[in-house]
């Protein structure tokens, strides 16, 4: 097989694998910018993955699943905010605690509701976001380079992949071109400045964490109802921590190191230690 096609296919896989990472990394970046470290990305994604799959399979609608995933993730991030912002608790401990609770709660509920040993039934049809073939993909698919790229690489992903692609510019716009973004960046850099400007630091951070929750919700949903077809315990397999590393590097010096790491399909062994919760979950 030609090197060209191999590259295209690798990029194609990269899109699929990168989607949840990109969404989660943006989420992490948002809370990071607001001055709240959130190692709870993992837990939020896992919670969302479960909620989405559970609702999708019961209602038969992937979109309702997405709603549920986002809702679950939002709930978790407001818990994080309640602990870290309202009660100024330790951000790392809070994130950890959330990861652990979710790691335990999802299989428990899953088992109680579906009796499938903590997983949800396999999703099919409308219960799942299936891949979209963009117009003319088949038509021009056999035009050498361009057509091939269009058909293989651009076309044929599920909606959430395209959402993730869109999310990057949108988040950038919100962060750098809107009032909300300005305030978020300010509160991360110097909360006192925001305070003296007569803006409530607390509320602002709640909002920022809500955005984090929203994005994690989409990322988690992708795992169980778009890329995968159903929830399996611990299925985030550490993507949350990988994303965290990426968002750290966002403003840090690691970018060059981290982005490739995050956007390539990594062998699981390199993800191992992101599975904090798996280990914490030891009785």
């Amino acid at each position: 097989m030609e090197i060209f096609e191999v590259t295209i296919l690798l990029l194609d896989a990269t899109f699929r694998v990168a989607t949840p990472l990109v969404l989660a990394a943006l989420a992490g970046m948002f809370s990071e910018r607001a001055g709240v470290v959130d190692i709870g990305l993992e837990g939020k994604m896992l919670g969302a993955a479960f909620a989405a799959a559970a609702v999708a399979t019961t209602t038969g609608s992937a979109w309702l699943g997405l709603m549920a995933g986002i809702a679950a993730s939002l709930a978790l991030s407001s818990l994080h905010a309640y602990a870290c912002v309202t009660h100024n608790g330790n951000q790392v401990v809070s994130g950890m605690a959330i990861n652990i609770v979710v790691a335990g709660l999802t299989p428990t509920l899953g088992f109680a509701w579906f009796k499938l040993g903590g997983r949800t039934p396999a999703l099919n049809g409308d219960e799942r976001f299936s891949s979209i073939t963009l117009p003319f993909a088949d038509a021009i698919g056999n035009i050498p380079v361009i057509g091939y790229i269009y058909a293989e690489l651009i076309s044929g992903h599920n909606i959430i992949v395209y959402m993730a692609a869109a999310a990057v510019p949108i988040v950038a716009y919100v962060l750098f071109r809107t009032r909300f973004g300005l305030r978020v960046r300010a509160v991360g850099e110097n909360p006192h400045a925001v305070d003296t400007a007569g803006i409530s630091v607390e509320i602002l951070r709640y909002k920022a964490l809500a955005v984090t929750g929203f994005l994690c919700g989409i990322a988690g949903t992708y795992l169980s109802t778009a890329h995968g077809a159903g929830f399996i315990r611990d299925m985030t397999a550490g993507k949350g921590y990988l994303a965290l590393a990426a968002s750290y590097s966002e403003n840090g010096s690691q970018s060059q190191l981290c982005w490739p790491v995050c956007s390539l399909p990594l062998p699981t062994r390199y993800r191992r230690d992101f599975r904090v919760l798996n280990y914490l979950s030891s009785v």
Binding site: T178, R179, L182, R185, A193, D195, T196, A197, I199
Partner: protein, 522 residues
């Protein structure tokens, strides 16, 4: 709202911090269109009181009236709405933002920034013209010198439509020129009918610009006077509760041997900017060499190089005949061992570990000396006893060697640092901004100590942006501008104007060029 009501009135305001009664029964009335000064020793309660007015702290008791109307100010928002603006002692700006972004923060006017920014730009141009507050609105605040940052803070307040402007120790960080400019701004504000509350430790400024003065001592208002009916001595006495000597008493210096000779010293920082240019200085035993200059002209780098914190790019530093540059001994730790003390410019950034207790801080830099160790162990009891003697000798308040450094007011923090460096009895002492943010009682004391040290035959280098501090302390004065020494002259022949011009980079030769800003104050 009655038109002749005072712009701001406080009635029986009380504030506790735990056991500390920071403000007790404070009553204050500030007339509209006046500049009202508030003075008091470190820890007297000035910042606390103003923080209450600005809604940072809530008063435990008491009322606040703005233009005669009772206001319930429980957060900055409320205070801003009541038309109050505040310029804080430690600026409240986002360094990574542009001036514009900092100013519109909180009043962006619309969800999208673009629109608001353009509106702000126009409004700001008006304000800048009206109050001569020029500043490049697109510059990054992080890149601005303190003087300009302060203007940004003022613009911020005005942009929010402040009628009452509070400034907490605004000149503590300014050069005379900057200070003069600030006062011209305040005058314009007054003419425009705005009300200004000015907290400062500098009586010169109080006399120069305020209409009324209120004096605080230990949490209480001890006096309200009209500026024209008082003078610096009276005020100082009211503040401290005893008569204070405002001039520095000293005999003519009797310089001895050259202890440190600096020649052709250059330093280029990692960004490739030349910070020090061919510096040549000599420190003599029994003499105080003052370095005057607008802050940011290389004084900080000079101190850091001489202190062994950063190493120069080229040049020579001879100490007691021994070349230090390219010498393994040339690092902060070993320099201390060979008798070089260093009081840094910024006590919070470098001089102290605020989260450490006072006694732990007395060992900072000297923690491996025998006097603080027995064997491998750091000897706590020795540290505490040493600290207690320092506290005793330098009259640090509160006299508690176990209190965290952050628990002392700036003046007392400064005393702790001075004590640590002086009590090691160095032969050469480097001192940066000896009295920044320190009240006159402490200033008097600190100056006495420095003079006393000089008279014991030590060489002292004093770097200060306070032009009159340099003039009253130093025996010789060198002026720095843009990393180089513009000129050096004997204290006796130094006048404020002459130094001011040299600080602007105009060397003696060109002295005939007269400077428009010369006579602004005093």
């Amino acid at each position: 709202m009655t038109t002749n009501a005072p712009a701001l009135e406080l009635r029986r305001v009380n504030k506790w911090f735990g056991a500390v009664h920071a403000n007790r029964d404070i009553s204050l009335s500030v007339g509209r269109g006046t500049i009202h000064g508030i003075i008091g020793e470190n820890g007297a309660g000035k910042s606390t009181l103003m923080s209450i007015v600005y809604g940072f702290y809530e008063a435990d008791e008491g009322e606040i009236y703005v233009n005669g109307a009772l206001c319930d100010i429980d957060n900055p928002q409320a205070s801003i709405e009541a038309g109050i603006g505040m310029v804080h002692q430690h600026f409240m700006l986002v360094d990574t933002f542009t001036v514009l972004e900092n100013i519109i923060l909180g009043v962006e006017g619309g969800n999208r920034l673009a629109g608001g920014i353009e509106k702000a730009r126009i409004e700001l141009e008006r304000l800048e013209r009206e109050y001569t507050l020029e500043v490049d609105v697109d510059a990054l605040v992080g890149d601005l010198p303190v003087g300009l940052r302060q203007r940004v803070e003022i613009l911020k307040a005005l942009y929010r439509g402040a009628e009452i402007l509070i400034l907490d120790e605004p000149t503590g960080v300014l050069t005379p020129q900057e200070a003069d400019h600030l006062f011209r701004i305040l005058n314009t504000l007054r003419e425009q009918g705005k009300t200004v509350i000015l907290i400062t430790h500098k009586l010169r400024e109080i006399m120069a610009i305020t209409d009324h003065v209120s004096v605080m001592r230990r949490g209480e208002m001890v006096a309200h006077v009209a500026t024209k009916d008082t003078d610096r001595e009276k005020l100082a006495e009211l503040m401290v509760g005893r008569s204070v000597l405002l001039r520095v008493e000293k005999e003519k210096a009797t310089p001895g041997a050259d202890l440190m000779t600096i020649e052709g010293l250059n330093y280029i920082d990692e960004d490739g900017v030349a910070r020090l240019k061919n510096i040549g200085l000599t420190l003599r035993a029994g003499e105080i060499l003052g370095i005057a200059g607008v802050s940011g002209n290389g004084q900080s780098e000079l101190l850091e190089v001489l202190g062994g914190i950063i190493s120069p790019t080229s040049g020579s530093i001879r100490y007691k005949g021994e070349e230090l540059v390219k010498n393994p001994k040339f690092n902060a730790r070993d320099l201390r061992k060979i008798g070089l003390g260093h009081v840094p410019e910024d006590r919070h950034k470098a001089g102290l570990v605020l989260s450490f207790s006072a006694n732990e801080n007395t060992a900072l830099g000297y923690h491996d000396l025998p006097m603080f160790n027995k064997g491998a162990t750091l000897d706590r009891t020795k540290m505490v006893s040493a600290c207690e003697t320092y506290i005793e000798k330098f009259d640090v308040r509160p006299p508690d060697a176990t209190l965290k450094a952050s628990g002392f007011s700036g003046g007392n923090q400064q005393k702790l640092v001075l004590a640590r460096e002086m009590e090691q009895d160095p032969d050469v002492l480097l001192v940066g901004q000896p009295t920044r943010g320190v009240d006159i009682g402490a200033i008097e004391f600190i100056h006495k100590q420095l003079i006393h040290m000089r008279d014991q035959g030590k060489a002292i280098l004093v770097v200060s942006v306070e032009i009159d501090e340099v003039m009253s302390l130093a025996d010789r004065i060198a002026v720095m501008f843009d990393g180089a020494i513009v000129g050096e002259l004997d204290a006796s022949e130094a006048t404020e104007q002459r130094l001011g011009l040299m600080m602007a980079g105009i060397s003696d030769q060109e002295l005939h060029v007269s400077d428009p800003e010369g006579e602004a104050v005093s």
